[in-house]
């Protein structure tokens, strides 16, 4: 009953947000359009988080690392080599995929909460590197003055915030569509099966680590592409864009949207980021406090987050097998610590 209500609420909110995103550039002012473009880029990172957390069963706090790699690669390419959007997207996605591939040996052998921890450490270390590697990243000052992007060879450069927003929207829609199509194929099936029962999938001859590595690299490429969109939207980047709190916010958004749902992740991440931006505008001094309290409240309100307390009402009902929710915690989450210790 409760699940049904929540599913309906999720669907209607998702529909509203998606319609709002499409009509936004004609309704809002320039500043809001720029903010929305950045939100969309982050929502795309949220999609990559959902791909790893919900579909592949590897909960991650480190997707801002390939996001940052993509953004910096795009900024360097954009200011020195090419201002063509497609080139920048491909370079950024490549940079994200390379960083993800480099971290495969760290992430893929681990499971469950260990992944959460290792990815968090990777994310923090990448931010540290960004702050110190001054010759390339500009240190904590970041990189500014990145030239306006032209989407394709021969097209004019995107001069207005509306145009940049629409460019972001088109790229995000294309990439999310591609991910949705991919997940409908056998690849998505195998990833979900590995999440639900890895031992059985291994027993039937599937090389699960290979699939997980593929998913990790793909998610890295998506996050890298999102980094390129951030550069287009902000025309300025600094290590502050890629902190650990951004990762946590995205994870919260993905959990709100239902971890295994790509569309839900997009909407959830966009909502959470929008709430953060709004809070920082309304309450300049106390935004983190309110945000923290909202985090705790959301965790308590989420259907899958809190264990149901067995009251007298529950006992009167016959014990039933709980329905399998798409956003239930991956089964892989349980046998984690022994694996590290054994």
């Amino acid at each position: 009953m409760m699940d049904e209500v929540i599913r309906r609420v999720r669907r209607s909110v998702a529909a509203l947000v998606l319609v709002g995103l499409v009509v936004a550039p004609w309704v809002v002012d320039d500043y809001t359009a720029a903010i929305l473009a950045r939100t969309l880029a982050l929502a795309l990172v949220g999609v990559s988080v959902a791909l790893l957390t919900g579909v592949a069963g590897m909960p991650t706090l480190g997707q801002t690392a390939p996001y940052a790699a993509g953004a910096y690669a795009c900024a360097v390419v954009g200011s020195q080599i090419s201002d063509v959007g497609v080139v920048q997207l491909v370079v950024a996605a490549g940079a994200g995929a390379v960083l993800a591939a480099l971290t495969v040996p760290l992430v893929v052998p681990a499971r469950g909460v260990i992944v959460l921890m290792i990815t968090l450490a990777i994310c923090e270390l990448v931010v540290t590197v960004l702050g110190r590697w001054r010759s390339v990243t500009g240190g904590t000052d970041g990189l500014a003055g990145i030239a306006a992007v032209r989407p394709f060879w021969g097209l004019p450069a995107l001069a207005s915030d509306q145009a940049r927003y629409l460019y972001t929207l088109v790229v995000v829609a294309t990439l999310v569509g591609a991910v949705l199509l991919l997940l409908r194929t056998r690849v998505g099936l195998v990833l979900r099966a590995g999440r639900d029962d890895e031992t059985r999938l291994r027993a039937s001859g599937h090389r699960v680590p290979l699939y997980l590595s593929g998913a990790h690299i793909l998610a890295g490429a998506i996050a890298g592409a999102a980094g390129s969109l951030l550069v287009v939207a902000q025309q300025y980047i600094s290590p502050a864009d890629f902190g650990f709190d951004t990762s946590a916010l995205l994870l919260l958004g993905v959990v709100i949207g239902g971890t295994a749902s790509v569309g839900g992740a997009l909407v959830g991440a966009a909502l959470v980021i929008a709430v953060r931006d709004w809070l920082f505008g309304v309450l300049p001094g106390h935004a983190p406090l309110v945000l923290g309290v909202l985090f705790v409240a959301t965790v308590y309100l989420l259907p899958s987050g809190v264990k149901r307390v067995r009251g007298p009402r529950d006992r009167s009902q016959p014990p039933t097998v709980p329905p399998s929710r798409p956003d239930a915690t991956p089964a892989r989450d349980h046998a984690t610590v022994p694996e590290l210790r054994a």
């Binding site: 760290l106 968090l120 270390l125 994870l251 919260l252 106390h286 406090l289 705790v296 915690t329």
Partner: protein
């Protein structure tokens, strides 16, 4: 004779960074031990761990006035406050399903965000100055170099804390429960020990350790806006390098991090940003389980 002198000269500039690395490593050990307990015993990824350290750090900055009495007071207040925060965290975590690490991580992150904001609101946005006891404010001569007396004393104190921790875990009933809970939590629950009480106890102990580290380590990793992040990152790397539940592994990993952060930076300044990364990658790639393979051997 000349060769020996040349050898000594080559090592000479690195004595002080190496000693600093020991101090830093022991501080990281005391701070990270709490996270290791949380993670290994209670199976909680506590993202608010750095905030517990920051509570200790801010307490030290507020209470220390250069006397010994104020140090004792700061230590008592810092440890109690951080332990209380740990218990509060355990209380908040109680309704959350134990197996659900995603929501645990989100919850503790929310607490870290709110707690950090409260600390900044209470103590001001600037990094406060920390005054060590006047007797330790000077420097002593170590192998021909001047070295801060406080750090030297800190090395001794942290070594005492580490030994006490080791003895507690090995020799007391509480330590036995902790080790049993790492090994087989279901069996411990079957024997009538409430997992909720173990969780509260472990989080309180973790808070106390982090608080003590925060007070004593305030002159080394001082309180400030990004202290919580720094300490959390260092503690996480310790857990990744040192594995779970093994005190020796944790100590080894913490000392390695201390040396990397001080001696490594002195030796290879250009590669400094990547050294922690490289160490983690090397250890994890070589052995997914971390430095210590078997914690029962310790």
């Amino acid at each position: 004779m000349i060769a020996v002198a040349a050898g000594a000269n080559r090592i000479d500039p690195y004595i002080i960074p190496a000693l600093d690395g020991v101090a830093y490593g022991l501080l990281v050990f005391v701070a990270a031990a709490g996270l290791v307990f949380c993670f290994g015993v209670a199976n909680i990824l506590n993202l608010a761990h750095g905030t517990l350290y920051a509570i200790g750090g801010y307490t030290a900055a507020a209470l220390l006035d250069g006397g010994w009495l104020s140090l004792a007071l700061a230590l008592a207040v810092g440890v109690l406050a951080a332990a209380a925060a740990g218990v509060l965290l355990a209380g908040l975590l109680t309704p959350v399903a134990t197996g659900n690490h995603l929501t645990q991580a989100l919850l503790t992150f929310g607490v870290a965000l709110a707690g950090g904001s409260l600390l900044v609101a209470g103590f001001g946005p600037d990094d406060p100055q920390v005054r060590v006891p006047a007797a330790l404010d000077g420097s002593v001569v170590v192998a021909g170099h001047r070295y801060a007396a406080y750090r030297l004393v800190f090395i001794v104190v942290a070594a005492v804390i580490a030994t006490a921790l080791y003895l507690t875990v090995r020799r007391t009933r509480a330590g036995m429960l902790v080790r049993a809970a790492v090994d087989d939590p279901e069996m411990v629950a079957c024997m009538g020990v409430s997992p909720g009480r173990i969780r509260a106890g472990v989080l309180a102990a973790a808070g106390a350790l982090a608080g003590a580290a925060g007070v004593l380590g305030a002159p080394i990793i001082g309180p400030g806006a990004d202290t919580a992040d720094t300490v959390l990152l260092l503690s996480l790397v310790v857990v990744v390098l040192g594995g779970l539940g093994s005190m020796a592994g944790t100590l080894l990993a913490a000392l390695a991090i201390g040396e990397i952060q001080t001696l490594g930076v002195a030796l290879l300044p250009s590669a400094a940003p990547f050294l922690l990364f490289a160490a983690m990658a090397a250890v994890l790639a070589a052995r997914a389980r971390g430095l210590a393979t078997s914690w029962r051997a310790t």
